[in-house]
Symmetry: C2
Subunit: 216 residues, 2 copies
């Protein structure tokens, strides 16, 4: 268990250990790449013990996903709130999801690009990153599926599952394109809106057919 | 290196070592689960050496994906052939992909459910399975993206990427629902058609707008 090294004392403003660990990890990933960085190095740079690292994160890859995980949690809360509203027309289900998604993107529009998205080219080669990315993709799909099942009660399971999977795929593609666009990339929300609009359109029409003609 | 055990001699018709390894693996996965089965056990059951196993498969998980990998290779060939045809209207790009996909599903309609799809509930817990599944998902996305970029030359990168990702998501959802439906599940193609139709519809409309009004 490494002891806090002296370098940590050099005038950083006090922040939570979690934030300090995130920043230490980000520095190290930038300096020497993700695969070459160990949890011990991150803890040492942050001036905390390895045990402290594992109090905050389950694994090295978790540090990459902090912003994504926060966005996922925010989306889940927003969709749960939407689901508590009086039942809407099934045809409104996809636009409701879209609104919740774009709301989360806007909330986070001042944030940096999540580290995980800057490492996307590594996803092809780093097994651990792949698995950690798939874990988030599956969580995103599950959040969308649960919400869609509640918003579109008369829709069949296959339509709901495929809509959630298609939407999750388009979201990841949009976020990835945004991250890859470099400085001056503009707003995440604009990328997401363009990426998911055809999914919202296509499944929106499919759900409207299930629901039949409506006056809303 | 295990030697071929006597049990292998008991009257199995001669087949390629690859097929025998697949069947041995399938038996063992069924008997004792995927996580509890080792490469050594598979080789031993098949009556071949561990080295022979690795002549045919890169890892234990590869055995699960044999049918999926064959379908992916078939899809890649079918789409390459479609891309060699004279350039079509951009609005035809999504229907062309759909036709190629459903063609592959039909070709394989007499096959058993791929082992990987029967293990989908394990995907949440088994890291190696997750990574091996993501590898195939990324390959499917890449095949669709390359093909779509060729079929819809004037479409922007973001639309192409998100269409490929959404389509891949819907395909996996459709195939998963088919596998999960149990005996009497019917045709894979019917599930895929229902799962992907809204994606084909939504991105087809988006691409048609890029292309402008057309007489085709």
């Amino acid at each position: 268990m490494a002891r806090p090294p002296a370098r940590n004392a050099v005038g950083r403003p006090r922040r939570s250990s979690r934030r300090v660990l995130e920043e230490a990890a980000a520095e190290l990933f930038l300096e020497q790449g993700y695969p070459g960085t160990t949890v011990d190095q991150i803890a040492s740079r942050a001036g905390v013990s390895r045990n402290t690292f594992f109090n905050y994160f389950g694994s090295k890859s978790d540090v990459l996903w902090v912003d994504v995980d926060a966005a996922l949690a925010g989306l889940e809360r927003a969709l749960a709130a939407a689901g508590d509203a009086p039942a809407t027309d099934v045809a409104d289900a996809m636009p409701s999801l879209q609104a919740a998604l774009l709301g989360i993107a806007e909330e986070r529009s001042n944030g940096a690009v999540p580290w995980a998205l800057t490492q996307i080219e590594l996803m092809d080669t780093a097994w651990e990153l792949q698995a950690s990315g798939l874990e988030r993709l599956l969580r995103l799909q599950a959040v969308l599926r649960v919400s869609l099942a509640r918003l579109a009660v008369r829709a069949d399971e296959l339509t709901i599952r495929s809509a959630a999977a298609a939407l999750a795929g388009a979201i990841v593609a949009g976020a990835g394109a945004w991250a890859a666009a470099g400085v001056g990339r503009g707003e995440l929300g604009d990328y997401l809106r363009r990426a998911i609009a055809p999914v919202v359109d296509g499944y929106g029409r499919a759900l409207a057919r299930i629901d039949g003609p409506s006056s809303s």
